[in-house]
C-alpha cells in the first residue's frame, strides 16, 4: 500500500526525516517517536503535502505529492484543529465530503452516518467554535472517514478524547482494519496504541529505529533482559528450580514481599515453555505472572535511550 524507499526530507538545513525505508500494509501500524522524531513529516509525505527531498515514496504505486488520484483513497486526520470556527460540525464534514468527491445526492446520508459513527450525531449542528478538544477530534475523524478511504492517516487521534471516546475509537479502528484498510496512527499514548496494534514503526531524530512486531523487537533488545514478575506461595522454592534453567539469567526477591520473585531471562520463549512444562508436571499455582517490560512503553524507552 505505502512504500517508502530511502526517503529523506530536509527543511532548509534541518532534517525532518533521514533515509527511511519501510512499508505500511493493511492493518493498524503505530508510528511512534518523541517530539521532533519525524512522525508528522512522514505523515505529510504519505499524504502528499510534502515531497521527499531524496528517495522515493509511493502510495498504491503512485507518488502522492500533488496527486489527487491518491488523495481520493486517503483519509487524513491532522494533529492541529483545522476548521472554520463559525461552521457547524455537520457543515464542515459535508464540505469535506464534497471536496473528497462524495456525490451530492448521497452526501447528507453519508455525513449523518459518519457523524453517528464518531459519536457526534447529537452535537454536530452546533458551531465548531464551541467544541471541546474531544469533539474537535471526533469531527476531524469524521471528515477523514466520509469518503471511505482505503488508507487512514491519523496524527495523534487519541489526544483530547475521554476514556470512553478512546475505547470507542479503538474499536472503530480495529473494525476498519479488519475490513482491510491500512491505518497509520501517530500517537504518544503508548498503552492506548498497544491495545490496538502490536505493529510499530519507531522513529528517532528523523531515523527509523525499529520496525515490526513489538514482541519481536523486544526479544531483540539484548541489553535489557526480559523481566518476569511472579507472585506465589513458596516463591523461594520455585526460584530454586528456576536457577537450573539455562534461559534464566537472574532471580531477585523482594524483601518486603516474600511471595514475590522477579526473574530475568535472555530467551523469553524458552523460559515460558520451560515454566509451562514445570507448572503442568509439578502442579504449581501462581497468584500473578506478569512481564513488566514486555510492553510498548518499555520497548520505546529501551530503544530511544540506548
Amino acid at each position: 500500500m505505502i512504500t517508502i524507499q530511502r526517503a529523506s526530507r530536509w527543511y532548509g538545513q534541518v532534517i525532518g526525516l533521514n533515509d527511511v525505508t519501510c512499508d505500511f500494509n493493511p492493518g493498524i501500524t503505530a508510528l511512534l517517536g518523541q517530539n521532533g522524531a519525524g512522525k508528522s513529516t512522514m505523515l505529510k509525505l504519505i499524504t502528499g503535502q510534502l515531497r521527499p527531498t531524496t528517495g522515493d515514496l509511493t502510495v498504491f504505486g503512485e507518488r502522492p505529492f500533488s496527486n489527487p488520484k491518491v488523495y481520493e483513497r486517503i483519509g487524513y486526520c491532522p494533529e492541529t484543529d483545522s476548521f472554520y470556527e463559525d461552521m457547524t460540525g455537520r457543515q464542515f464534514v459535508t464540505l469535506m465530503a464534497r471536496m473528497a468527491g462524495v456525490a451530492s445526492r448521497n452526501v447528507d446520508s453519508i455525513v449523518a452516518n459518519t457523524l453517528e459513527k464518531v459519536g457526534m450525531a447529537d452535537r454536530c449542528d452546533k458551531k465548531i467554535a464551541g467544541y471541546s478538544k474531544g469533539m474537535r477530534q471526533r469531527i476531524k475523524l469524521a471528515q477523514a472517514l466520509t469518503h471511505n478511504p482505503e488508507v487512514l492517516i491519523l496524527d495523534e487521534p487519541l489526544n483530547g478524547l475521554d476514556p470512553v471516546g478512546r475505547r470507542e475509537l479503538q474499536e472503530m479502528l480495529k473494525g476498519l482494519a479488519a475490513e482491510g484498510k491500512t491505518i497509520v496512527i501517530s500517537s504518544h499514548i503508548l498503552h492506548e496504541v498497544e491495545q490496538m496494534t502490536r505493529h510499530i514503526v519507531l522513529l528517532h531524530k528523523g531515523r527509523l529505529l525499529a520496525l515490526g512486531d513489538v514482541g519481536e523487537i523486544r526479544g531483540l533488545i539484548d541489553k535489557h533482559p526480559h523481566r518476569v514478575h511472579v507472585e506465589m506461595a513458596g516463591a523461594r522454592e520455585f526460584a530454586r528450580k528456576l536457577m537450573v534453567m539455562p534461559s534464566v539469567l537472574s532471580v531477585a526477591f523482594d524483601r518486603q514481599n516474600p511471595d514475590h520473585v522477579e526473574i530475568e531471562t535472555a530467551a523469553p520463549d524458552d523460559f515460558y515453555s520451560e515454566v509451562a512444562d514445570m507448572v503442568l508436571t509439578e502442579n504449581i499455582e501462581f497468584s500473578a505472572f506478569t512481564s513488566p517490560d514486555n510492553n510498548l512503553e518499555s520497548v520505546f524507552r529501551y530503544l530511544v535511550s540506548k
Partner: protein, 299 residues
C-alpha cells in the same frame, strides 16, 4: 421479493457510491465561499449601499419622465450616467474586502489547507474556487443594479429606440462587471494567500487601493504632458483602471447627475489594459506560489 434479515442492519456503512468528477471540485470551494459570504448580514447592507448610485439614477430617470426640458437634457447621455454610477467604486471595494480578505488568510490561520489539500483537490482547484467566490459576489454587486437600471431605461424609451442608441450597454454590462470583479478577486487572493489575518489583508488592500489612486493623481499633476496622457496617468490605480477601462468599453466619459461634475478626456486604453492584466497575473501567481498545505521552514 428481496431477502431481508429479521433484524435490520443499522451498523455503519462505508460510502461506496459514485464520486464527482475532479473537474467539479473547485465549484465545491467556490460554493462554500459564497455560502459563507451571503451568511454575513453586513454583505447585504454593503450590496444595498453599492446599488445606491444606480437607485439614484433610476429615481432621476423615473422623475425625468415627468420632468421638463432641462431634466431630460441632463438625462440625455444615459451611457455617461451609467458610467458615472459604475465609477462609484467605494462600496464595491468594501464588498470585495468583506468577501475576499479572509478567503485564504482564514484558511491559513486555521491550518485548513492541511485538510483541504489532503482531499482530491489540486492547488488550482482551490485557487479557482476561492477566486471565483470573490469574483461572483463583486460581479453580482455591479451587474444586477446595472441590469435593472438599463432594463428600466430600455422599457421607458422603447426597446427599439434604446437598442439603436445605447444597445451596446446590454452587451457591455457583463464585461463592465467582470473588470472590477477580476481585479479585486485576483489581487485579494494574492494578498490573502500571504497572510493569516483577514483584517490585515483588508488594510493592505485598502491601503494599496487608495494609495495607488493618490499616487496616480499626483503623478498626473506633476508631469506636464498632453491631456490624454494625463488622463491615462490619472487612471493608473486600481480605482482608475476600473473607471478608465469602463470608459473605453462604453466609448464615453462618465457623467454625474450633479451639473459640472464631468470629465471629458478619455485615457488611452492600451496602457490601462496592460497594467490591469499585469496586476491580475501578479495577484494570481503570487497566490499560487504561496498556497501549500504545510509551512516550509527554511533553515
Amino acid at each position: 421479493m428481496s431477502q431481508q434479515a429479521p433484524i435490520a442492519d443499522l451498523s455503519y456503512r462505508n460510502y461506496d457510491g459514485p464520486k464527482t468528477l475532479e473537474t467539479k471540485r473547485w465549484w465545491v470551494i467556490a460554493r462554500n465561499g459564497l455560502r459563507v459570504s451571503f451568511k454575513k448580514k453586513s454583505l447585504w447592507v454593503l450590496l444595498a449601499l453599492a446599488s445606491l448610485p444606480y437607485l439614484f439614477l433610476l429615481f432621476f430617470l423615473f422623475m425625468g419622465t415627468f420632468g421638463g426640458e432641462m431634466m431630460s437634457e441632463q438625462l440625455g447621455d444615459f451611457r455617461g450616467l451609467m458610467l458615472g454610477a459604475y465609477s462609484s467604486a467605494f462600496w464595491p471595494l468594501m464588498i470585495a474586502l468583506l468577501v475576499g480578505a479572509g478567503s485564504i488568510a482564514a484558511d491559513n490561520r486555521a491550518n485548513a489547507l492541511q485538510v483541504y489539500l489532503s482531499k482530491p483537490v489540486t492547488k488550482r482547484d482551490y485557487l479557482v474556487g476561492k477566486w471565483l467566490a470573490i469574483f461572483m459576489v463583486v460581479f453580482g454587486a455591479y451587474f444586477l443594479p446595472m441590469f435593472i437600471v438599463t432594463s428600466y431605461q430600455a422599457f421607458d424609451t422603447g426597446i427599439i429606440e434604446f437598442m439603436k442608441s445605447d444597445g451596446i450597454i446590454f452587451a457591455a454590462m457583463p464585461i463592465l462587471a467582470a473588470i472590477p470583479a477580476t481585479l479585486h478577486a485576483s489581487l485579494l487572493v494574492g494578498i490573502s494567500a500571504w497572510n493569516k489575518t483577514p483584517w490585515i489583508v483588508g488594510v493592505i488592500y485598502a491601503g494599496l487601493y487608495f494609495f495607488s489612486t493618490i499616487f496616480a493623481n499626483i503623478l498626473a499633476s506633476a508631469i506636464d504632458t498632453t491631456e490624454v496622457t494625463e488622463a491615462t496617468l490619472r487612471h493608473l490605480s486600481i480605482e482608475g483602471l476600473i473607471a478608465g477601462i469602463g470608459q473605453f468599453i462604453l466609448n464615453t466619459t462618465p457623467r454625474s447627475l450633479t451639473p459640472g461634475m464631468t470629465v471629458d478626456t478619455m485615457p488611452s486604453a492600451l496602457p490601462l489594459l496592460l497594467v490591469a492584466a499585469s496586476l491580475i497575473v501578479v495577484g494570481i501567481s503570487v497566490a499560487r506560489a504561496r498556497i501549500r498545505a504545510v509551512e516550509v521552514v527554511h533553515g
